[in-house]
Symmetry: C2
Subunit: 340 residues, 2 copies
DNA sequence: TTGTACGCGTTATCAA
DNA sequence: TTGATAACGCGTACAA
């Protein structure tokens, strides 16, 4: 690391360290005679000077880093959110530090601590919380320690902690979907409910139930399959459902990747998705563009969600935790054609 | 930022700064009497001490940051690579700083400079280079400046710069694919060739041509469509091809997202993929699991590629740039059934 | 084994 | 407008 320092530049330009700093950074005191300024800049260029961001962070007392914590960056849901975050972050002059936790809350906590060590300006946390107060308490503690240090936090999903949140309308969106499908003639519903204790899955299930109830329908308990919140979980849940011989018109999955897995299971079982059995998902991940038949879902503007969360962490910290609700809208497609 | 410092901990524990540092960090001189060590640790816990990574970086002269530069994190190709990188990075105790450039080489250069400022230990750069010596020279300069500062670099794609590279067998894989399809009975080939000057696209096209040549076949120039290296580019190219009324058996796309776009275009035009017209891609992105008919492609182990690139940057810098070749293997699926 | 004191590269305060 | 110089928080010779 034979890096050239600001002192080198100053010496080369024949000015003091302070002047060099001012010339290059143009701080509050933006008063450097043009002639000197040019000399400094020239020296910096000649020496290939690269400011040390760590030293700047120390001297300034603040960094230019934003932390992003997701469950799995390879999941299109999270990678779209990440795209929204990186775009908004770059706009704000921040670098994004990415943590992919593999759905492990322990690692979420660990990453928060690392980001606190980095003195990251803000943390955006995506991915559903779970129903485990022990874990949640520790998470809460980690977050409030981080915030006590001056960091800003925005969560994506459901308002659970006392921080700024971009809330996805899970319940309302799911209810709307159930109602829309009932109106389309579907009567015998099943659900791929995700794992127990998964809050997003739970909210969406509640929405399904509420929507159906509003139409005088219901979800039979034996038609509620529990499996992982992943593509493979959807496959598995669907296979079990089909194996059980249950007579259902349509299967509601609590997210798109599960729905897509379910479509595969149906195909493998020789059941035609659409005319044979309806399937619907949630999120409208970009992948869906190329799934056939096109999948009915509830659209969540993921890019925007990521950008909004990022913007929430910028600017002045609010006294009250802010709550940004993003509307989710039903999109009916070929996987659930109208039913006579 | 009322953060508690190591001095606070030392005072609280009634020891010197140095002892506190050694107790918490356990540096080379890992010699601290257990009793004192415990007192320090207790004080640190009581005060909620969080070490300042920036200060540590300065004092140690090295950071714990690895930079990852991709074209578009929402693209499954890159998000899978990113997953491989984050996994390997965490294993090595590094945090990943993510830069998504939106295919803009200028931003690639800018990000390299930022990462240099951060004194990132290493940079992993994914995404094809282009044929633009002006841009490439500046990139080369940025990279060598970074490396001169002691940073390690690994590129993913083709060996173009003088740095460690995880080389994807574009040409060989493409040739193998062409040969396999010819062997399967396909005779009239077309290609979605991507944009001019795109090196990965170019290499793959050369592979197609070579493979066909080895079987005494060829790609007619009028069957080579040029369009963006994206899903929409694939759609567009395919539409033009179909509109042209060209009589072709099979369409080779230079990547999967283009192939998937082409499948959509075929569907929209009422052409059945598989029996009507064959389509093949390249990369075997995870999305393909849920595309129907299943897409023939050339598999690239993306997770592993990301991990390997990361590992290349770790450990001792080699005298010579290392070249890690990852084999790409043809996977024939339903989009190109054997042809009589 | 522990403590003192200096250095890391930069910004910011205060004089000049 | 410029220049010394003191922080910033930590690691680590060197000394004790």
């Amino acid at each position: 690391m034979a890096s050239v320092t600001l002192s080198d530049v100053a010496r080369e330009a024949g000015v003091s360290l302070a002047t060099a700093s001012r010339a290059i950074n143009g701080s509050a005191n933006r008063t450097v005679r043009p002639e000197l300024r040019d000399r400094v800049l020239a020296a910096a260029a000649a020496l290939h000077y690269s400011p040390d961001a760590n030293a700047q962070a120390m001297a300034r007392g603040r960094t230019t880093t934003l932390g992003l914590i997701v469950h799995d960056i390879a999941d299109p849901y999270f990678s779209s959110i990440a795209a929204g975050v990186t775009t908004a972050a770059e706009r704000a002059g921040l670098m994004v530090t990415l943590a992919s936790t593999g759905h492990d809350p322990e690692r979420e906590i660990a990453f928060i601590e690392v980001l606190q060590s980095q003195r990251a300006r803000a943390i955006v946390m995506a991915g559903s919380r779970i129903e485990d107060e022990t874990v949640n308490d520790r998470l809460r503690a980690a977050l409030s320690a981080y915030r006590a240090g001056g960091g800003a936090v925005a969560m994506i999903g459901q308002p659970l902690f006392d921080v700024d949140t971009v809330a996805i309308e899970n319940t309302a969106g799911a209810a709307d979907l159930a109602v829309a499908l009932h109106a389309a003639g579907y009567r015998r519903f099943a659900a791929l409910a995700g794992p127990a204790g998964h809050l997003t899955a739970r909210d969406r299930m509640e929405g399904f139930a509420a929507g159906l109830a509003s139409r005088g329908a219901a979800l039979a308990p034996e038609h509620i399959m529990r499996s992982a919140f992943t593509r493979d979980g959807g496959y598995e849940g669907m296979r079990e459902l089909l194996d059980s011989g249950a007579a259902v018109d349509v299967v509601l999955a609590v997210n798109d990747v599960m729905a897509v897995g379910a479509m595969a299971a149906a195909r493998d079982a020789g059941v035609t998705v659409g005319t044979g059995i309806g399937i619907a998902g949630f999120d409208d991940i970009v992948t869906l563009r190329d799934v056939t038949p096109s999948l009915t879902t509830v659209r969540v503007p993921l890019l925007q969600v990521g950008a909004t969360a990022t913007e929430l962490t910028l600017g002045e910290p609010a006294a009250e935790p802010r709550l940004e609700r993003v509307a989710s809208t039903v999109v009916l497609r070929d996987s659930t054609p109208p039913r006579a």
